[in-house]
Symmetry: D2
Subunit: 307 residues, 4 copies
C-alpha cells in the first residue's frame, strides 16, 4: 500500500510531527510502542495505532459505580483484582485499543468470529493483494493428531516435511501467478474484475486490517486465543498482544493472568470430588462419577498441565 497514511512498507506512519501535548490518560510504555511493527509469522505483523485509557481509567469507572468512600477501602490494584475476580466487566470496557494487523486469511477467518470489535480490512475488491503467503517454519509443520480431531500431532520430519513444504509453497506461488494473469497486464486485453480474480488466491495469502476493541473483549479474545489449545498461527498473534497489554495496563494484566489465564474452573461434580480428596479420600475415576474425558481434564487441572 502506498496511500496517504501508510509508508512504503504498507505501514501507517505515526509521524513525529503528530507528537503533541494531551491531557488524556497516557501510558508511557504504549507511547513507545505506537506504530512499531511486532513481526509475527513469516510476513505478518501487529502494531498499536492508538489506545484510550490505562489502569487508572478502569479504577475511575469502577469508582463511579461504587461512589463515595471507596477510596480508602482498597488500593487501585486491589480494586482491579476484585473487579476481575467477580466478573465486573464494564470498567474494563472503558479502555480501547486500535491495532494494525497483517495476517494470513485463514487466521483472519478465525479472528473475525470475535464480533465485538470494529474492523476495516484491506479490500481485494478495490485493490490488488501483494504476493505474500504464509509458509510454516519446519518446526511448526505438524501432522494431524491421531487422538484429537482438532489437534496437531508430532512434527513432520525428513522427506515428509520437505514434500509438504514444497507443495504448499509451489501451489501458493502458482495461485499468485494465476491471480496476476487473471488481473491482466493493464494493456489492451481486459483483465478479470478484481473481485473475481481474488478467488484464485489461497487461504495462506496475507491480508491486513485495522482492528479496534475494548479491553474486556480483548481479554476474552486472549483467553481463547493465547490458550494452548488455540491453533499456533493465531496464538502467536495473541501472545504478541499479551506483551502489549502488559505494557498498557499492568495491573489489569496481572489480574487477568491470575484469574483467567492461570485459573481453573471445576464443575459441581469436580468440586464434590475435590472436597472428598481434601478430606483424605482417594478418589478414582470410577468413584468420581465423571466421564473419562472430564476426569482426564480434572487431573490435568490439578497437575497444572494442559488437558
Amino acid at each position: 500500500m502506498d496511500g496517504n497514511a501508510l509508508d512504503e512498507r504498507g505501514q501507517p506512519e505515526i509521524a513525529p510531527e503528530n507528537a503533541g501535548e494531551t491531557r488524556r490518560a497516557t501510558a508511557p510504555a504504549m507511547e513507545a510502542r505506537l506504530g512499531a511493527a511486532i513481526p509475527v509469522l513469516d510476513h505478518g505483523f501487529l502494531r498499536v495505532v492508538d489506545y484510550m485509557g490505562d489502569d487508572a481509567a478502569i479504577v475511575q469507572a469502577a469508582r463511579v459505580s461504587y461512589g463515595r468512600g471507596t477510596k480508602s477501602a482498597r488500593d487501585d490494584a486491589g480494586l482491579i483484582r476484585y473487579l476481575m475476580r467477580h466478573w465486573h466487566s464494564t470498567p474494563f470496557e472503558m479502555c480501547e485499543i486500535k491495532l494494525h494487523v497483517k495476517l494470513p486469511i485463514f487466521v483472519a477467518r478465525q479472528w473475525i468470529r470475535h464480533r465485538t470489535a470494529n474492523v476495516n480490512e484491506y479490500s481485494a475488491r478495490y485493490s490488488i493483494l501483494d504476493r505474500e503467503f504464509y509458509t510454516p517454519a519446519p518446526e511448526h509443520l505438524a501432522a494431524q493428531s491421531a487422538s484429537n480431531r482438532q489437534g496437531r500431532g508430532a512434527v513432520l520430519a525428513g522427506d515428509d516435511a520437505e514434500a509438504a513444504l514444497r507443495l504448499l509453497r509451489d501451489e501458493a506461488t502458482r495461485d499468485f501467478d494465476a491471480y496476476e494473469r487473471l488481473l491482466g497486464d493493464g494493456g489492451d486485453r481486459p483483465g478479470l474484475a478484481r473481485e473475481l480474480a481474488r478467488m484464485a488466491l489461497p487461504l495462506s495469502a496475507y491480508t491486513q486490517w485495522y482492528w479496534k476493541t475494548d479491553l474486556h473483549n480483548l481479554f476474552h479474545f486472549l483467553r481463547l486465543r493465547a490458550d494452548p489449545h488455540a491453533q499456533y498461527e493465531i496464538r502467536v498473534y495473541a501472545e504478541a498482544l499479551c506483551e502489549v497489554v502488559r505494557d498498557w495496563v499492568p495491573a489489569a494484566w496481572a489480574a487477568f493472568e491470575d484469574y483467567r489465564l492461570n485459573a481453573e474452573t471445576f464443575s459441581g461434580p469436580a468440586m464434590a470430588c475435590l472436597r472428598r480428596m481434601l478430606a483424605g479420600e482417594a478418589v478414582t475415576q470410577d468413584s468420581s462419577g465423571m466421564s473419562a474425558g472430564e476426569w482426564r481434564e480434572f487431573q490435568a487441572a490439578l497437575a497444572g498441565r494442559a488437558a
Copy 2:
C-alpha cells in the same frame, strides 16, 4: 462523590499533571474541552473524559480498505463525504469517545436503549444518591398534545403551570425525604438496605454515568435524539454533544449534517410522485396513492419543516 478520580462536585479531575506528550492523534479543540462540564438541564452536565482518533483516523481506516492509489482520487473531506453518503460505516467506528454524563433517570432510561456503547453507572445499591431532581423550566412545561399521542402541545400557563410545577417539586422533595428516612441516620436503628430504599426515588432524580461509544454509533444516537421529535429533555443532551462532535471531527460532522440531519428520504411511491411533479404534473394526495400521514410527511419534507 469524593473518590480518587472525582473532585468535590462529583466531577472527574483532568489534572494538569496528567498532561503529557503523546504520538497519538490529537484534536486540539477536544483537548480544550477535556473535563469541562457543559451544563444541561437544571442540574445535569456532560463532559468529555477521553477520545480516540480524529478526521484523519477515519480517512486512514478508509484507505486501508481502498488500498493503493486512492490518495490522488479525492481529498480527505471528499472521501469522508463519500463514506457517509454510501453508508460505509466502519471507518467512523475507528473513532471513540468517552463521556461523563449527569442526567435524570427517565432520560437515562431512553438513552440506555442505544445498546452499542459501554456504560458504568453510579450504583444506588452501593451508594447514596444526592438530593437532586429535575424540574422543568416554565417554558418547557408542555401540555399533552391533543393530536399526537407522543407529543407535547402548548406550554401550560398561569395557575396550571404553577400547580404542576409545585406538585412535581413537592412530591420529589417528599420522595427524597422518605429515601433519607428509609436509609436511617446511621445511629442505632438500622436503615433499610440501600438497594431497597432507592425505589422510593422519583424518575426525575439525577443519576450519572460514564458512557463510551464509537463515532458511527454516536451519529446514530444523534440522528434519533437531536431530532425535533425527540423528547426535549434528551434532545438538549444530544444538542450539546453535537457541539462536541463538531469540534472533534469537523469534516465528519459536516458530512453528517448534510447526509443525515438535513437529509430527507423518499419512499418508492413518494419518488414516483416527485418525478411526476418534476415533469410538471400537479399531484394531490388523492392522485398520489399515499396515505394521509405519508402525504403530510412528504409535503413537510419538500417544504423543509418537521412533519
Copy 3:
C-alpha cells in the same frame, strides 16, 4: 392495555386458534408454558411468548462445526456438556426465547444492562402506566448490611419494619396521585404531557416489556442474576426463568448447572494453595499469599457456601 394482542389483564393472548402444525423443532414442555404467566413479586410476572430450537438444535449446530463422523463419538448430552465445559458458545446461540415480563422499574434498570437482547418496553411517553408499584413482603425488608456495602443485613422487624413499609406504600401512593393529577382529568384543563408527568413516578412502579435473547446470553444473564449475590428482586425473575430453561433445553440446563451455577473458579495463586493442600500441607492465609478477601472466598468455595 387493551390492544389487539393483549387481553384485559395486559397479557398477550396465545389463542387456541393460533395452534397449528409446524415442522420446526418443538419442545412439548414449552408448548404447555406458552402464554401462561408465572407470578413474580407482588404484581409482576414472566411469560414465554415464543421460542426457537431445543437441545437437538444445539447438537445440530455443533455438528456443522465438527462435520463428518462425530455421530458415533459421543451422544448428544455428552456433546452438550463438552461444549459448555469448553466455552464453545456459538451452538447455544442457535436457540432463542421471547418473554413478556412485568417488573418494577428499578429491576428493569439492572436487567437492561444485559445488552445482547432485543427489547420492546411499554412507553410512558405514549401511554399511561397502571397504578401498580412494588412493596416488599415483610420477610424481604432487609436492613443495610454493616459489613458489605452492596448487601442486605438482617430483616427489619417490629416497628422499624412497619414504619418502612408504610413509608414506601404511602409515598408511592402519593406519587401515583400526583401522576394522575398531572395528567389531568381529560376535561377542559389541559394535562401535562405524558412524557413529563411520568417523572413523578417512583422507581418501584411496574413497567413491562418484551425481551428476546439467545440461550448463550440467557445463560450469562442467569449466571449473574440467579446468583446469591444478586439483588433479591431480580433474582426471583432469574429463578423463575431457570425453571423455564429446564423445561426448554433439559440437557443444556443440566450442563449449565454443573459447569456454571455449581462450578468454582480458582485463580493461579489459589491453585498453588490447593496443590499444596492436596499434598498434605496445612495452608493458612498467611502462608497462602492471598489477601484476606481472596482467602475468605477461597475457603467459602471449598466449603460450598456463598462467600
Copy 4:
C-alpha cells in the same frame, strides 16, 4: 457431512416425524420452505432451518410500546409501514430466522462482516472440506471496470473468457489435489494437520454455516447486499433471501421495499436543489453546489436508475 442431523447431501433433515402441533406464531408459507434448499451459484444453497414470529409478532411488540388504544388508530400493515418509515427498529427485532447456507469462502468473508448474527461454520480444523469450488458462469465473467475501481465492466468473451475460466478451474483443481495430498491417505505416512492443510485451498472453495439473525438486521443485510452495487456472488444469496422474507412477513417486506429498497435519500444540498427545481428553476451541476459525483448520483436518483 454425514452426521446425525444431516442427510447424505450434507443437508439437515427436517423430518416428517418432527411435525407437530404448536401454539407459537406460524407462517404457513415458511412451513412449506422449511428444509428445502434454494440453489444458489453452481454448488451453493440456502435453506430455512427455523424461524420465530410473523407480521403479527411485529405488531404485537409495537403495541406493547404504544399501549392502550392504538388498535383503532391504524391497521396492522399501516402500523408496520409507520414503524419502517420512522426507523422504529425494535419491533422488527422480535422476529428471528435461522438459515443453513453453503457459499464460497470469498463470499463468506463479506457476509461475516455483518456482526449482529449468530454463526456456526463448518470447521476445516476438525473436518475435511468437500472438493467443491465456485466457477463463474460465462455470463458473469466480468472484466474490471475501467471507471470504477470497485466494479465490473463488460463480460469477457471468446478466448479471454475461455482462458480465464480454464485458469480458475485448473488452479482450483490443483489446489484441492494438493490439499488431499497434504492430508495424506490415512495410511502409514502421517498427513499434515487439517488446520494447516486447509491453507492450500482457494478462496473459491465452498464452506457452509448456520446463520441466525433477527429481521431488523436481516433487512440491513438485504439493503446492502441485494443492492445493484453489491458483488454479484453475494447478491444472488441476498436475492434468494428476499423471496424467503416476502413469504415470511409479507407486510414488513412490502414496507421494506417501499421505504428502503426503492427509496432515495437526498442530502441537505440536494434538497435545496430539488426545491428550486420544483419551483421551476433549471438547476445545473454548476449552480447546484454539488460535486460531480454527487450530482451524477442525484440525477440517477431522480431518474430511477443506479448511479
